[in-house]
């Protein structure tokens, strides 16, 4: 093949992707469906730990995946999908909490009594457990926002301190120091409540 033929051949070449436009679209949809199946429950638990309402948590998860759908072209550039998705849902949760009013403890008691596993407890014991958990969560809410966020995320088994740092956009040492402060504050709050009783 001469040089001119090679030039013309390259010039007239039609890329394969232009001939089959549905292929990348379908690949993105498949990748998104896989993300939904893999991480929806994790995102739900992260959202529920902060919102403490099943419907709100599910809405947050759906909104997170809608955001992913909007930016599906960037899916290939993301290194850690899990942390990326948790960060998205965490930002949504924070936005919602900022807009919503402070939840009364009675709402938490009712919601916890509904969602907590029975584990062979009687109705009275379940109610008492729900009340106790709601009281603990009320103490968590009294913590400063930075410490509270680290404490809530650290309760998840699957999140390391590096990943918590990536979700919150801080350094790992900040995560450690905030966690330490949060635990101390939490112990103080619980002891104070116990002494009042």
């Amino acid at each position: 093949m001469s040089a001119s033929q090679a030039i013309y051949a390259g010039w007239m070449e039609i890329p394969r992707s232009a001939m089959v436009p549905e292929a990348p679209e379908r690949a993105q949809e498949d990748a998104l469906a896989a993300l939904v199946h893999q991480y929806a429950s994790t995102l739900y638990r992260v959202a529920f730990s902060a919102l403490r309402n099943a419907h709100d948590a599910e809405d947050a998860v759906q909104e997170a995946f809608l955001r992913v759908l909007r930016h599906r072209d960037a899916l290939g550039e993301v290194r850690n999908h899990r942390v990326w998705l948790i960060r998205i849902v965490w930002n949504i949760v924070l936005d919602r909490k900022r807009r919503a009013k402070t939840r009364p403890e009675t709402d938490d008691v009712a919601e916890l009594a509904r969602v907590l596993p029975a584990n062979g407890l009687s109705a009275e014991q379940r109610a008492a457990a729900a009340q106790h958990h709601a009281h603990v969560l009320g103490c968590v809410e009294k913590l400063p926002a930075k410490e509270r966020q680290v404490l809530q995320l650290s309760a998840f088994d699957e999140l390391s301190s590096v990943e918590i740092a990536a979700v919150l956009g801080i350094t790992e040492s900040s995560v450690r120091s905030r966690l330490f402060r949060a635990r101390n504050l939490m112990a103080g709050l619980l002891n104070h409540a116990r002494s009042l009783r």
Binding site: A40, E58, L116, L151
Partner: protein, 177 residues
């Protein structure tokens, strides 16, 4: 080294009950059918702009040319059509000509003709009513002036009221005489 904060969670100052609560909340199972609901929402969500595919009969794949000389010929034909069309348009378009000037006959020079000597023509207006001058006005004008230079204007004396009454009484008596 990646450390898990959960490992030190149990060793911290948080009392066991609080730790238990947080772990319990974090481990709550997701509701059934969550994935399906999320997928349904994603399916019904409006997508961004989408490029419509070509119909199968007009797909670029059907015009794919394998032989190189045919490609060259096709490229030459396209170039010929483009250049020929451009030349056709160019040759038909008239070039812009200079603007036509309407020649106006020159007026005779003002210096060579008669001048109006500064006279200004005024249009004729309608003749209005003319006030007739009384005849005495001319005689009064001819009368000589006083020593002071002022003209004496004699006022016509009006008769006194007593004389007026007398005259009227005489007029009434007279027919009866």
């Amino acid at each position: 080294m990646i450390s898990n904060p959960h490992d030190s969670f149990t060793q911290g100052a948080v009392p066991g009950s609080a730790e238990e609560t947080l772990l319990l909340i974090a481990s709550l199972p997701a509701p059934n059918g969550l994935e399906e609901r999320v997928e349904a929402v994603l399916r019904s969500a409006p997508r961004g702009g989408q490029v419509l595919p070509w119909p199968k009969t007009f797909r670029p794949a059907s015009f794919h040319i394998d032989r190189p000389w045919l490609r060259v010929a096709a490229a030459a034909a396209i170039a010929f059509v483009v250049v020929g069309g451009g030349w056709g348009v160019y040759s038909r378009v008239e070039r812009q000509q200079a603007a036509k000037v309407i020649v106006v006959p020159a007026r005779p020079a003002a210096t060579g003709g008669f001048s109006n000597a500064g006279a200004i023509r005024t249009p004729q207006t309608l003749n209005g009513p003319v006030l007739a001058q009384p005849a005495d006005a001319s005689s009064a004008a001819n009368r000589p002036a006083d020593a002071t230079g002022k003209r004496s204007i004699k006022k016509k004396r009006r008769p006194a009221p007593a004389a007026k009454a007398r005259n009227s009484a005489a007029a009434t008596v007279a027919p009866g005489k």
